[in-house]
């Protein structure tokens, strides 16, 4: 089944990012195709390479980047990113900035769209 995931909240601040990650890992384990991951609202903060969490904590941006390296399309909304200061220069590898049209395509093409937010 094609599953798309939408994430609305920033890393560490809200559990949405962790719930989404755990859900996606489980979906991959079950053999599903992740149609795409779309970061909207404060979700755009998830993929800045400037974050430096404490050594004993998870590195949320790197986690997303690793999923991107496996071929999952990870998209950051350009409009939401611009007003929040997330630009190409600060992105971790394997994620891209694009428009809301990408979210639209995911909503239409994916069999399921799961939204994680506050």
């Amino acid at each position: 089944m094609k599953i798309a995931v939408c994430i609305y909240e920033g890393p560490y601040n809200h559990e949405a990012s962790d719930s989404a990650y755990n859900f996606i890992k489980a979906a991959i384990d079950k053999g599903h195709e992740i149609q795409g991951i779309f970061f909207y609202h404060d979700g755009v903060y998830n993929v800045t390479k400037l974050m430096e969490p404490p050594q004993d904590d998870r590195h949320i941006a790197n986690r997303w980047s690793e999923l991107g390296a496996k071929g999952i399309d990870i998209v950051v909304c350009i409009a939401a990113a611009k007003r929040r200061g997330i630009v190409d220069d600060v992105l971790v590898p394997n994620v891209r900035i694009s428009g809301l049209g990408q979210l639209t395509m995911m909503a239409i093409q994916a069999d399921r769209m799961v939204v994680f937010g506050d």
Binding site: S19, F23, A27, R112, M113, V115, F116
Partner: protein, 97 residues
């Protein structure tokens, strides 16, 4: 339909709101702070009991454990992320953010 609720019912009305729009046979998954609704013996237990006349309630184990919730309202099913994925396979979903 699968309805996900991630808010504490002691602070936020998301679960009460959700209960107005469910149809018989629907499934509700409590996750994140939503799992506080699953604890037995609270002022919110009756809400869940009432909802279970119509729908099946699941609560996510990782969130229950993180919040030290051990005694559950009778009838609540515990599931994990793999079970969450299975619920998504079976149902269209709405998140009650």
């Amino acid at each position: 339909m699968l309805h996900t609720v991630n808010k504490s019912p002691f602070q936020n009305n998301a679960l009460t709101d959700c209960s107005r729009y469910v149809q018989a046979g629907d499934v509700v998954l409590l996750l994140e702070d939503g799992v506080f609704a699953a604890q037995a013996g609270t002022t919110q237990s009756a809400l869940l009991e009432k909802m279970m006349e119509q729908v099946t309630i699941y609560a996510l184990s990782a969130d229950l454990k993180a919040r030290a919730i051990k005694a559950l309202v009778a009838g609540v099913q515990v599931t994990d992320y793999a079970g969450f994925v299975e619920l998504v396979e079976q149902h269209k979903i709405h998140s009650w953010l």
